[in-house]
């Protein structure tokens, strides 16, 4: 499998435009001067070292956080001006962690994703969409289990199902694969790509750069709150840039069989390891 190309039938329109976005919290600059477009029909991966501002940027794109400077617009309309109910019909967010106060069943949690469509024509398809979402996130077998009794990876997939059931145009996924096994990592990101192919926009925060290379149409590399590079994986995932951003030697090689990009840290022998600076 080579780097994914979007189906030709999918037109790409820009849904979100971030211009010169900056976020300052307690005088610390978390984000600065970020320009980014989020388009339908493609998967955009946000990568970068810890503390680079990935989750903060995701929060800004989700409308959770109003940037200290710059603007975020949904097709010309200020994101902050979109009502909370309307926003819920446009974008869905998968947070890194879902803590549930009460022991709802998985199916109830996924049903919650349908709430934004209550009272609209789409509510007629609630059950169908919930079933599809359960299946797509591979949690159909867990449907009647209580959410708190699930493992970390199962919780992540159940929450992913909730976001799918919400049917947003824009899916914002914060490290959806962090707790998942290899099969489900591939499965969830394939589902995300499927959504993009169906005409949605997907933004996904990832730590695994090989996953980003395999599943993203564009990759945005964040470093110290700014964008170090944005573009197709083949252009952006480049050893010099990554080694600089991650402050660790990184190799990018082609898979001997499939030709996929593999991003690998160069490993020093244990006795050569120096303390982190």
């Amino acid at each position: 499998m080579s780097a994914p190309v979007a189906a030709p039938s999918v037109t790409r329109t820009t849904v979100l435009t971030a211009r010169d976005v900056g976020v300052v919290i307690d005088r610390a600059t978390i984000l600065g001067g970020v320009d980014l477009e989020v388009r339908t029909g493609e998967v955009l991966a946000l990568v970068g070292p810890n503390g680079a501002g990935k989750s903060t940027l995701l929060g800004v794109l989700a409308g959770d956080r109003v940037p200290t400077s710059g603007s975020v617009e949904w097709q010309g309309e200020a994101l902050a001006a979109v009502g909370v109910g309307e926003l819920a019909r446009r974008r869905g967010v998968l947070l890194q962690e879902t803590h549930l106060s009460f022991p709802f069943r998985v199916v109830d949690v996924v049903r919650m994703g349908r709430t934004p469509w209550r009272g609209t024509e789409r509510a007629a398809h609630d059950d169908e969409r919930v079933a599809q979402a359960l299946l797509a996130a591979d949690v159909l077998d867990l449907a009647t289990r209580r959410f708190p009794s699930l493992s970390g990876g199962e919780k992540a997939r159940a929450s992913f199902a909730r976001v799918l059931a919400q049917e947003p145009v824009l899916l914002l996924l914060d490290e959806p694969t962090a707790a998942l096994d290899i099969r489900h990592q591939e499965h969830v990101l394939a589902q995300a790509r499927l959504r993009a192919r169906a005409g949605d926009a997907v933004v996904v925060v990832l730590h695994d750069l090989s996953l980003a290379a395999a599943h993203a149409d564009r990759v945005a590399v964040l470093d110290g709150g700014g964008l170090a590079a944005v573009g197709p994986p083949t252009q952006v995932l480049e050893p010099d840039l990554l080694s600089r951003v991650y402050r660790h030697p990184v190799d990018v090689i082609a898979h001997p069989v499939t030709g996929d990009l593999l991003v690998l840290p160069r490993r020093a022998a244990v006795h050569d390891t120096e303390p982190l600076r």
Binding site: V93, A131, A136, H187
Partner: protein
């Protein structure tokens, strides 16, 4: 729907890029063919309906029995007959005792109705509060809202304030409850969550301050006011008359209606504040409205019957164990369950010791205290610590 939203059914039309994609698309098609809804478990368990039926029956039977028991004993069929005759139906026997009808309508029935109203109010307030705090240990009595309402209500007695007639006490209790709820909410939350330790300790602090205020009021008041305050702290339905019921019942009905309207949003809030907002909940508004409703319900319960603790803790918890945590069932079922519980507790309070009317708050605390402790232990275990 936004005008820009692409068609939803494009899933199968895409060019297959990988095996995973094709498999998923095929699986989706399979669910569609198999008529998706069929594989889903029902949104509302059948047990919920059963619970409503059982609780309603229990409430009716208990009300008839409770109204008949006391120094002047009237069999349940005569109680029922008396009610039916009052509403114009010539069915069933009327009370055979010459004073039976009078005893029922002037003493027993107001008390029975008050017990139901107060029980429903407390249990609903508990369910609501637990939903807003995201914590199964929140309850008006435990966190000090009841004491706050009591302080304000007692002040009107001690200082002889009565500008709103019989409503004065209820209004004062509402204001006191409202202030305390906001206070507890503000103090006990951090980072969008309420930890068990913080909540319980906040309750200790608030109850301590309110206890001090009540002590001061007891000190300031004359003998009659003192007696009333002491009585209040114990909680009792003794001496309930129709005018009191006329104040409490509308408040309780309004509060329960409000709580039912909030139920769906409370479900979403259990995902956490951020996730709830992502699903379209105006969290700030939900919070404020819920707190006002909690204060309203608590005030209605406290205004004439004093502090009756733990009902709001025990009832929603039992309901959750029976039918799960969904608030659309939990809230009305808690209201019913609270009515049943307090009616039963009042029956015991009236009849356990001959010629004595035990304080009902004492009874609920006697049962509720150990239950609270068990709940704390359980929460601690399931949460993996005191968080």
């Amino acid at each position: 729907m936004t005008p820009t939203a692409p068609p939803r059914d494009a899933v199968e039309d895409t060019s297959p890029a990988s095996a995973a994609d094709t498999a998923s698309a095929a699986a989706l098609a399979a669910v569609r063919a198999a008529d998706g809804p069929a594989v889903l478990p029902p949104a509302r368990p059948a047990r919920a309906t059963a619970l409503f039926v059982v609780l309603t029956l229990a409430l009716v039977v208990l009300a008839l029995v409770s109204a008949g028991l006391g120094q002047l004993s009237i069999p349940p069929d005569q109680v029922l007959g008396s009610v039916l005759h009052r509403i114009g139906l010539d069915l069933g026997p009327v009370p055979s005792h010459p004073n039976g009808d009078a005893a029922l309508w002037t003493i027993r029935f107001p008390r029975v109705v008050m017990a139901m109203a107060v029980g429903a109010a407390l249990a609903t307030a508990g369910a609501l509060m637990q939903g807003v705090f995201g914590n199964p240990l929140a309850e008006p009595g435990v966190v000090g809202v009841s004491s706050g309402a009591a302080v304000a209500a007692c002040s009107t007695i001690v200082f002889g304030i009565s500008f709103l007639g019989p409503w004065t006490i209820a209004v004062a209790a509402f204001v006191g409850g409202l202030v305390t709820t906001f206070l507890v909410y503000g103090l006990a939350r951090s980072g969008g969550r309420t930890e068990v330790v913080t909540l319980v300790l906040t309750g200790v602090a608030v109850n301590a301050v309110c206890g001090a205020a009540l002590a001061l009021l007891t000190f300031l008041g004359d003998t009659q006011a003192r007696e009333q305050i002491v009585f209040w702290q114990l909680g009792s339905l003794n001496g309930t008359r129709w005018p009191y019921v006329a104040v409490v019942a509308p408040l309780v009905l309004a509060g329960i209606a409000g709580a039912v309207l909030l139920a769906r949003r409370l479900d979403l809030l259990s995902l956490g504040e951020r996730a709830a907002r992502h699903l379209g909940v105006d969290v700030e508004r939900l919070r404020v409205v819920s707190i006002v409703v909690v204060a309203l319900l608590t005030a209605a319960a406290v205004a004439f019957c004093g502090i009756i603790a733990f009902v709001g803790l025990v009832v929603p918890h039992l309901v959750r164990m029976a039918v799960g945590p969904g608030h659309r069932v939990l809230v009305p079922a808690s209201a019913l369950g609270g009515a049943v519980l307090l009616l039963a507790a009042d029956l015991v309070a009236r009849t356990a010791v001959p010629y004595a009317d035990l304080p009902i708050g004492m009874l609920t605390a006697l049962v509720g205290g150990p239950f609270f402790f068990w709940l704390i232990r359980r929460t601690r275990r399931s949460a993996g610590g005191w968080a």
